[in-house]
């Protein structure tokens, strides 16, 4: 399908912003068959996430989980990273855009730079280190952080004095002071905007005294303070005197939920959780008993398993003080006195050693300018305008948005949106998939299995990083004496492009069949050297690396002799291992080009539709008689979007699409196979007939249900109803039926019914906005109606806060209650009366009401059978568990199976749509590969030794080994993750892990300890 101008759509995509959202969108699209140009105005990718210490709610180290993504983006053949680059303009239309770009000079040539760091070591200039939030200094020649991608330095010419030292010491000749800006243009089919947000600058407030008091820091500064790679190396210290604080306060909503000082009225959606996390982690870092207190208005822990995290923090002794802050004043030399009004309105004060301002998000000025240049609409808060049913599309067709430009949000939500935006793009451009991508053309591999080992050893000087400490010529000559070594040489930079070419020639000339490189770390360089082997027709597993830099010259600088001796030891170990390395085959298996989607609600339908639009076929299995799911019980969204017409048109579109097969009244009866090749039997309709489907992926979208309350006279009194019941009552009123809410004098709503209690500790996320939505609607019907919402915390996160503000403006009364003093609902003739404790008056109040509306919990659907069939995990409350709460929010840990909608956790319709698109994107990028490489470094069973004892079956964390028809264990190479747990558990030693076989491991130790005994 060509667009209006008749031109074929471009198979390339521009992604603007390389934070976690931009990276995810790029990875999905590049794997789906599109060429991605990833631009970022900074010299490196990674965004704000790279600056975080830990991440909630798993307390994973942020850098540990993001750095594999950085490396993946950096290496992907179809991601063209354009650092220091900005978008100047966008012409054209969806499918055929022309983008004008400008790259700012970096002064260091990335092609030549090996990131050895000599330039930084000699740089005499000190500048503020913005990565560490100005808490320490860096040089003018710098890398933003050690794991940065692209791996290369940059010169900050704003502070550089042009002394020329770095140019002199750079043996790779990468420094170019005369580098200039470059303007260029690209043709792309679509654009994804992921430029992120800035953090709010608190210096404009007098209240917080941020500029004058050094021990008042922002939350991002505190992240750097906690970080092991931060300015204080992870030691908990306060800036003024570098003393460990004994008392720290967090102040919530700084720059959010407030409009007094031209700040932002919305909620920034992440600060409650990060403050709790920072308090918990700070306690772990502290040597003494650190006192932590969080001063807040509402604790908004609304995400999946966030409430439990909050509860655990309370158990850890983090204090939570509901209050409004009046001021921070200096106390003594550098302590801080907080004055605040508590919930009863009483003024109190307390002294702390350090105060952390939980600053919110805002769209930066440069991003607003970008939005104008790209001609997309921004809302009054400067976030990109999107339609609730098209949550990743901007006002300009073909331009998608994800991450915090779409609205304030946390990492998993950003990652989902990124994949969602990729799904939209992939559906738009599917006709041009694989048209602009690059692929490696490799020569056939030479079989070396019958040859004796002929080892080539390449010792790297790494400029002077290694050569300056280790006696490289001595190591080189030593290597010559080792068994099977037929060639040795040393290089200034073994990783440079010209060295790769020369190494290839030498390997061919000398018939080398094992390569050892003694240099830096395999983490960053193994793929490069393996590629060199592949380029000349050798198997990539015939390579071994000795890390004589990170594990030697860098850490033993003070003793050159010992460092040289150790380098020889490491080379001897690697050569010994290399001699035993074997070439490993990876087989290609076909991937079935279709997906099975389970659940026909909004999420399942969107996932199936997107898969079909991407060009794959989809089978949509729905248990009920009709498609539509829980959305059938919602009339409109809080922003006024009519849900039923949307569901009707979605159903029509799904049914009409030739790529989708819809099966209603259907259930999965059996499921087998593995990623790429599943076989599922489905019982269709009432006929009890089974149909069998072969498919490559599965998307689980089984939805959720509303809790039927046992409390508050529900089911006993007609005036007591749930929010969903009220929706029905309002709809019936429109049809002229039943109980007319317009005649009610007073309606009282009770929040958290069946949520946040002992039985179900989860927050159901959506009920606060349901209550506010319905309260505003009732007010519209009858402005004289009294509406009281009894709540525990109003969790109107993100831009929903505006509706909360509006509700209060309209006189809707919000009164807070505690779990240990629940409201009481009694029958009062035809009406009801409700007794509750008012926290301001400090007494119980009784009110008559015509209706009591219960905001009932959202509970997981019953999926016992399905979870067992698919072998996918669920949490204690029946919601499915994703592979990683932060970075893999729609993947299951079993590959080829994905998750979306309320089956994951309660969420809004727009959020479900985003997640369903994300699942379709992940599924599509897997299917698009068409074939799958399996094998390599995986476990294999020696049948003759296997006693079928089941130890492997029980020890495998992924449930891969199976006892087959021959009554021996069989490990499917497509499923094995290569951890080796079964290998080391197998009592008969019948299993080996290729590339890490027992002899390949022990020979290294043996070589190291040669002659010791």
């Amino acid at each position: 399908m060509a667009n209006s101008s008749g031109k074929k759509k471009k198979g390339a995509v521009l992604v603007v912003g390389a934070g976690v959202a931009g990276m995810q969108a790029s990875l999905d699209l590049a794997s789906s068959g599109y060429l991605v140009h990833l631009v970022d105005k900074s010299p490196t990718i990674g965004g704000i996430m790279s600056q975080l210490d830990k991440t909630f709610p798993t307390n994973d180290c942020a850098m540990c989980i993001i750095s594999p993504k950085l490396v993946e983006v950096g290496r992907h053949l179809n991601i063209n990273i354009l650092p220091n680059t900005e978008v100047e303009g966008l012409e054209g239309e969806a499918g055929n855009f022309q983008v004008a770009l400008k790259s700012h000079p970096r002064y260091i040539d990335l092609k030549a730079c090996t990131a050895c760091g000599q330039c930084r070591q000699v740089c005499p200039v000190t500048a503020v280190n913005e990565f560490n939030q100005a808490l320490d200094l860096r040089e003018a020649t710098y890398m933003r952080y050690p794991q940065a991608i692209p791996r290369g330095f940059t010169i900050d010419r704003n502070v550089c004095i042009g002394c020329g030292l770095c140019e002199k010491v750079c043996l790779a000749e990468a420094v170019h002071y005369d580098d200039t800006a470059k303007e260029f243009s690209l043709d792309v089919g679509a654009v994804i905007l992921a430029p992120g947000n800035e953090i709010f600058d608190p210096s404009k407030f007098d209240t917080y005294n941020y500029l004058n008091l050094p021990n008042v820091v922002t939350s991002l500064e505190f992240e750097r303070i906690l970080s092991a790679s931060g300015p204080y190396r992870g030691h908990l210290m306060r800036p003024y005197d570098r003393e460990e604080p004994a008392k720290i306060a967090w102040l919530q909503c700084v720059g959010s939920r407030n409009i007094n000082a031209c700040d932002n009225s919305y909620c920034s959606a992440v600060c409650c959780m990060y403050a709790i996390k920072e308090a918990v982690i700070a306690k772990e870092h502290a040597h003494g008993n650190l006192d932590t207190a969080i001063f807040y208005m509402d604790m908004r822990t609304y995400g999946k398993e966030f409430e439990q995290y909050y509860n655990r923090a309370k158990e850890h002794g983090v204090r939570f003080i509901r209050s409004r802050i009046h001021s921070i004043e200096p106390e003594g030399e550098c302590d801080l006195r907080l004055t605040y009004a508590d919930e009863q309105g009483q003024q109190k004060s307390e002294v702390f050693d350090m105060v952390v301002l939980s600053v919110g998000f805002e769209v930066g000025k440069e991003t607003v300018e970008l939005g104008k240049r790209l001609n997309i609409d921004l809302n009054r808060h400067k976030f990109a305008v999107t339609d609730g049913f098209k949550p990743v599309e901007t006002s300009r067709p073909g331009v998608y948005v994800c991450g915090t430009l779409q609205g304030p949000k946390d990492i998993p939500q950003s990652v989902m949106e990124a994949s969602g935006a990729a799904a939209g793009t992939s559906a738009l451009l599917s006709e041009s998939r694989w048209t602009e991508t690059r692929s490696l053309q490799l020569p056939p591999q030479r079989d070396v299995s019958k040859e004796p080992p002929r080892i080539g050893v390449f010792v790297c000087n790494c400029g002077i990083n290694i050569g300056g400490i280790v006696d490289v010529p001595a190591v080189r000559e030593y290597a010559r004496t080792l068994p099977y070594v037929v060639h040795v040489e040393d290089n200034l930079f073994t990783c440079s492009q010209d060295t790769q070419v020369r190494m290839g020639q030498v390997i061919k000339e000398k018939g080398i069949n094992r390569m050892v490189v003694a240099a830096c770390t395999p983490l960053t360089h193994e793929p490069l050297f393996r590629e060199t082997l592949l380029d000349i027709g050798l198997n990539k597993y015939l390579f071994e690396m000795a890390n004589i830099r990170n594990q030697d010259s860098w850490v033993h600088m003070k003793d050159r002799q010992k460092a040289t001796d150790k380098a020889k030891d490491l080379v001897r170990m690697s050569v010994a291992r290399a001699a035993l390395l074997q070439q490993l085959e990876e087989q290609k298996i076909q991937i079935q080009q279709s997906g099975l989607v389970i659940g026909g609600g909004i999420a399942g339908m969107n996932a199936a539709l997107n898969l079909a639009q991407q060009g794959f076929s989809a089978i949509l299995v729905e248990k009920g008689t009709e498609l539509g799911g829980l959305a059938r019980c919602v009339t409109h969204t809080i922003d006024g979007m009519e849900v039923q017409p949307y569901v009707d048109s979605l159903i029509a579109e799904v049914k009409a699409h030739p790529g989708i097969k819809v099966l209603t009244e259907s259930e999965v009866t059996s499921f087998k196979g593995y990623k790429g090749n599943f076989t599922t039997k489905v019982r269709v309709g009432s006929s009890l007939e089974e149909e069998t489907f072969e498919h490559g992926v599965v998307i689980v979208a089984t939805g959720a249900k509303e809790y039927r309350p046992k409390e508050f006279l529900y089911g006993e009194h007609d005036g007591v109803m749930t929010q969903m019941d009220l929706d029905e009552v309002l709809r019936q009123r429109g049809a002229g039926n039943g109980n007319d809410p317009a005649k009610w004098n007073r309606a009282i709503m009770i929040q958290c019914v069946g949520s946040r209690n002992e039985e179900n500790p989860n927050c159901s996320r959506i009920c606060c906005q349901s209550a506010v939505k319905h309260a505003l609607e009732l007010k519209k019907l009858n402005p004289a109606m009294d509406i009281v919402i009894l709540y525990r915390d109003m969790r109107m996160y993100g831009l929903l806060e505006d509706y909360y503000t509006e509700a209060r403006r309209q006189g809707i009364i919000f009164s807070r209650f505690d779990l240990d003093d629940l409201p009481k609902v009694e029958s009062n003739g035809a009406g009801l009366k409700v007794t509750f404790h008012d926290h301001v008056l400090q007494r119980h109040i009784q009110m008559p009401a015509d209706a009591v509306v219960l905001s009932a919990a959202t509970l997981a659907a019953n999926t016992d059978q399905l979870a067992t069939q698919l072998k996918v995990p669920r949490n204690a409350y029946g919601f499915f568990i994703e592979a990683h709460a932060k970075l893999r929010p729609v993947d299951f840990s079993s590959e080829g199976i994905y998750l979306c909608g309320t089956a994951h956790s309660p969420k809004l319709i727009s959020e479900s749509i985003t997640q369903s698109l994300a699942a379709a994107s992940r599924a599509g990028s897997f299917l698009a590969g068409k074939t799958l490489s399996v094998g390599g470094a995986v476990a294999h069973v020696d049948k003759s030794h296997c006693a079928a004892c089941l130890v492997c079956v029980m020890s495998c964390p992924y449930g891969v080994p199976k006892i087959n028809d021959e009554n021996v264990s069989e490990i499917n190479p497509a499923l094995c993750q290569g951890c080796g747990v079964c290998v080391s558990e197998c009592p008969a030693k019948a299993i080996q892990l290729s590339h890490f076989e027992d002899d390949q491991i022990t020979v290294e130790v043996h070589a190291l300890l040669e002659g010791a005994v």
Partner: protein, 130 residues
């Protein structure tokens, strides 16, 4: 972070500490190692879910054997740390070397010679962080 630690620590890379086999540890002692330690991910953070817990059990088992055969269980250890804990990595290397130095050479070794340490670690970024 280029944090200094003793040169007698040498690293053997494995995909996961779950691949560490009792045999690997015992063979290292047979070959004359004075001490061996396994560096795995933090408990609960194993990339392969439970590999480090398996390794912990195996290390405990080897400790028991070393005690029984007179080499001494204190010569083997299990440490857990994340890839973000460079300083901890260097600290462990120093701690373990110091301990082994105090214990002296393994009874299996002929005589003299410098302390030999081996460390088995999953192929993550821990050693890079140091």
């Amino acid at each position: 972070m280029r944090l200094s630690y003793p040169t007698n620590v040498k690293i053997v890379k494995l995909p996961c500490s779950g691949r560490v086999d009792v045999v690997h540890l015992l063979k290292a002692f047979e070959d004359g190692a004075d001490g061996v330690y396994v560096a795995g991910c933090l408990e609960g953070d194993c990339h392969y879910q439970v590999g480090n817990l398996r390794a912990k059990k195996r290390v405990a088992y080897v400790k028991d054997i070393l005690d029984k055969i007179g080499i001494g269980g204190e010569r083997v250890a299990m440490y857990n740390l994340s890839a973000g804990q460079g300083p901890r990595f260097a600290e462990i290397a120093r701690e373990m070397s110091e301990k082994i130095k105090q214990l002296g050479p393994t009874p299996l070794r002929k005589s003299g010679g410098s302390a030999k340490g081996v460390k088995l670690t999953p192929g993550t970024t821990k050693e890079e962080a140091a």
